[in-house]
């Protein structure tokens, strides 16, 4: 069915690959109506993912990463959730698509792998049953064919004796194996985009490395783009092509791995990187905590915790993103026209700083 939805000619496909992004998120805003007011989990973020690339959404817990990726195929429960903005996948707007369309895309063209493999499988059914279900929801294939394909996939993701373990229940597998099964389940539809939401967080470090390797292999093998959510910068460094740094539902900075790790622009990104082992700040962490999502601060979301914050940081909303080099942009007032960005650099202010920036920098902690 959905094969027809794909690009009509091979030529067009190659063209799409180069020009138009596979996934284009614009102004995505996801809010939840709660008793204590509207909770803004994701507040107008833009993310693009091109075919075949790995984009990492990075941020601490509560920054809205999970809600953002679960808004793409409208997995967020609504109500109470409310998703606004546009999400274009291969040119089609997913947020305005009808239920049947979005269902045919879920698990088929856009697949998900979640954080906690322990509870992600239904404990009452065998893993085989659940894989076959995933296949047959989208394709009208005979039971035996679906079974054969499911066993192949289990084998591919590294489940030993796949055919004999096909009829085992989830509780008979370890956490790492369950995550492998979840990955196999995500692959049944040969997806174009794999959304992986902290897939290694609940696993121990050795298993984590194996799963990351598996992602890398499968990405090439299945020719998928991967949207990877994590708070673990070590993981990011290993797999990402491009990085989007989120904080309190807003994009702080975006760029390639090198941009972010070698030349981080935003004070938040710098603080985050300093928390990495061997970078200096691992004991103290970042002072303060995330703002209340029901009452976000007026200006830059990070301003209340930012050591460099000046008055301008506390008003007029999140600063517009400034492109400081091709593909690398920062949402910080110090990068706006007429300000000295060296103020926020780890080396401290250099060159000629404008008077008012200097003056305001003194009145930070109020």
């Amino acid at each position: 069915m959905s094969e027809h939805d794909r690009d009509p000619t091979p030529d067009a496909e190659t063209e799409t690959r180069n020009d138009e992004p596979l996934l284009e998120i614009e102004g995505l805003r996801t809010t939840f109506g709660t008793d204590s007011g509207t909770l803004v989990a994701v507040d107008g973020i833009d993310v693009t993912v091109r075919a075949g690339e790995t984009v990492c959404l990075v941020g601490e817990s509560g920054s809205g990463k999970t809600v953002a990726v679960e808004s793409i195929t409208r997995l967020v429960q609504s109500p109470p959730g409310r998703i606004e903005g546009t999400v274009r996948f291969k040119g089609q707007d997913l947020l305005s698509a009808d239920e049947a369309t979005i269902r045919s895309i879920r698990g088929h063209e856009i697949a998900h792998v979640f954080q906690n493999p322990q509870n992600a499988l239904n404990h009452c059914y065998t893993v085989g049953w659940q894989l076959v279900e995933a296949i047959r929801v989208h394709e009208d294939v005979p039971e035996a064919a679906a079974r054969a394909r499911a066993i192949d996939l289990l084998d591919r993701v590294g489940i030993a004796n796949a055919s004999s373990r096909f009829d085992d229940y989830p509780h008979e597998f370890s956490g790492g194996q369950k995550q492998r099964i979840m990955i196999a389940m995500a692959l049944v539809g040969d997806p174009d985009l794999l959304v992986a939401d902290e897939p290694t967080t609940a696993l121990d470090v050795t298993v984590q490395a194996q799963i990351l390797d598996l992602f890398e292999e499968l990405k090439t093998e299945f020719d998928m783009a991967v949207l990877f959510v994590t708070h673990d910068l070590g993981v990011v460094a290993e797999i990402a092509d491009r990085i989007v740094v989120l904080y309190a539902g807003k994009v702080m900075e975006r760029g390639t791995v090198l941009d972010i790790f070698e030349r981080p622009g935003h004070p938040y990104t710098r603080a985050l990187l300093e928390c990495l082992p061997g970078r200096g700040n691992e004991i103290s962490g970042i002072g303060g905590s995330l703002p209340e999502p029901t009452a976000p601060p007026d200006g830059c979301r990070f301003a209340p915790r930012c050591p460099h914050a000046i008055d301008a940081c506390h008003r007029d909303g999140q600063p517009l993103e400034t492109e400081i080099e091709p593909g690398h942009s920062v949402s910080c007032v110090f990068y706006r026209e007429g300000r000295d960005s060296s103020v926020v650099s780890p080396e401290g202010p250099t060159g000629v700083s404008s008077d008012d920036a200097d003056e305001e920098a003194r009145s930070t902690d109020d």
């Binding site: 997995l75 698990g107 979640f114 509870n119 499988l121 404990h123 929801v137």
Partner: protein, 324 residues
């Protein structure tokens, strides 16, 4: 090893439980005075004979002079070979009287059980899916209503309404009606409705609350992300795990009402089933028949619990059958 061995072990345990119950019954019977002997003594005294001699004779006649262990073995053999004695009040063997009662009881119990098992979980899960909507509130209101109102009272009210005022259903149960006839459906509709209302409430509540837990479970998000439709997700991914805790409530509820309320409902509607048979036997002091119906209810309870245990393990694959 595995499921067959576990089931076998459960069956053995059920047999042991029934033996314990039968033994306790025997001890109580042996300790209690036998009315037939008192009666013989009174009779002899009235006729001018020797009451003591009459008592001796009656005891001998009934085998009560035998040692206790011989009487116990006789009793056991009798119970397990279905020789449950003679019902003086009905002038027929106890087993025959019981099977006649069972015939009428089954006519309303079977549809009642099936309806409860079908409607209860379905409405409960539907209620959870539409939590806090007017549909949920309606179902919850009905559940509490059914749970709170006494069956016999509800039965009388409905009988008054539909039988006396509206004249839609017969007031007196007619035993001559064929089992599978419209007439029988008509006269059993209200008793079945009353019993379903009484038993469905708890089942609806339990399935609603259990499935509320599963509808927000991680595996539901997985199902949604796989592209599974909400209907299928509820039917397979919520219903199935809900049935595990529900099976306990289901059997418990059905047994409780079967043993208690069915008597009241049978008396109200004049159905000559097991419940009324027991009631009449109690009033007539027909010891053998009371004993027989007690054993029937006991065995039903033991078998019900056995089924519940087996269903439980089949439904939840995480339960290990080993070492039990």
């Amino acid at each position: 090893m595995g499921l067959p061995r576990y089931v076998a072990a459960r069956i053995v345990w059920a047999a042991v439980v029934s033996l314990v119950i039968v033994t306790i019954t025997f001890v109580l019977m042996a300790a209690a005075p036998n009315p037939a002997i008192q009666e013989a003594a009174t009779q002899a005294a009235l006729e001018g004979g020797d009451p003591q001699e009459a008592v001796e004779r009656e005891r001998e006649l009934r085998g009560l002079d035998e040692p206790l262990h011989v009487r116990y073995l006789d009793f056991l053999t009798g119970v397990y070979t279905l020789e449950w004695g003679w019902s003086e009040h009905r002038s027929q063997p106890v087993t025959e009287a019981l099977s006649e009662g069972l015939y009428y009881t089954a006519q309303y119990s079977v549809p009642w059980t099936i309806l409860t098992m079908l409607i209860g979980p379905l409405v409960g899960v539907y209620s959870a899916a539409n939590m806090y909507s007017w549909k949920d509130h309606l179902a919850t209101g009905f559940a509490f209503f059914g749970y709170a109102i006494p069956n016999f009272f509800f039965g009388i009210i409905l009988l008054l309404l539909f039988g006396v005022w509206l004249d839609w259903i017969p007031v007196v149960y007619n035993t001559d009606v064929a089992v599978f006839s419209l007439e029988n459906v008509r006269q059993l509709a209200i008793p079945v409705f009353v019993l379903v209302t009484g038993s469905i409430g708890a089942i609806m509540r339990v399935s609603r609350n259990e499935s509320a837990e599963f509808r927000n479970a991680d595996f539901m998000k997985t199902a949604k992300a796989k592209g599974v439709s909400p209907l299928r997700a509820y039917a397979y991914h919520v219903m199935r795990p809900t049935l595990v805790p529900l099976s306990t409530t289901l059997v418990g509820q059905l047994l409780a009402i079967f043993l208690g309320s069915s008597l009241l409902v049978e008396v109200v509607f004049g159905i000559p089933g097991l419940g009324r048979l027991t009631f009449d036997a109690l009033v007539a002091q027909d010891t053998n028949l009371v004993l027989g119906s007690t054993l029937i209810f006991t065995f039903i309870a033991v078998i019900g619990n056995l089924l519940e245990d087996i269903v439980f393990t089949v439904l939840d694959p995480r339960i290990s059958y080993d070492d039990r």
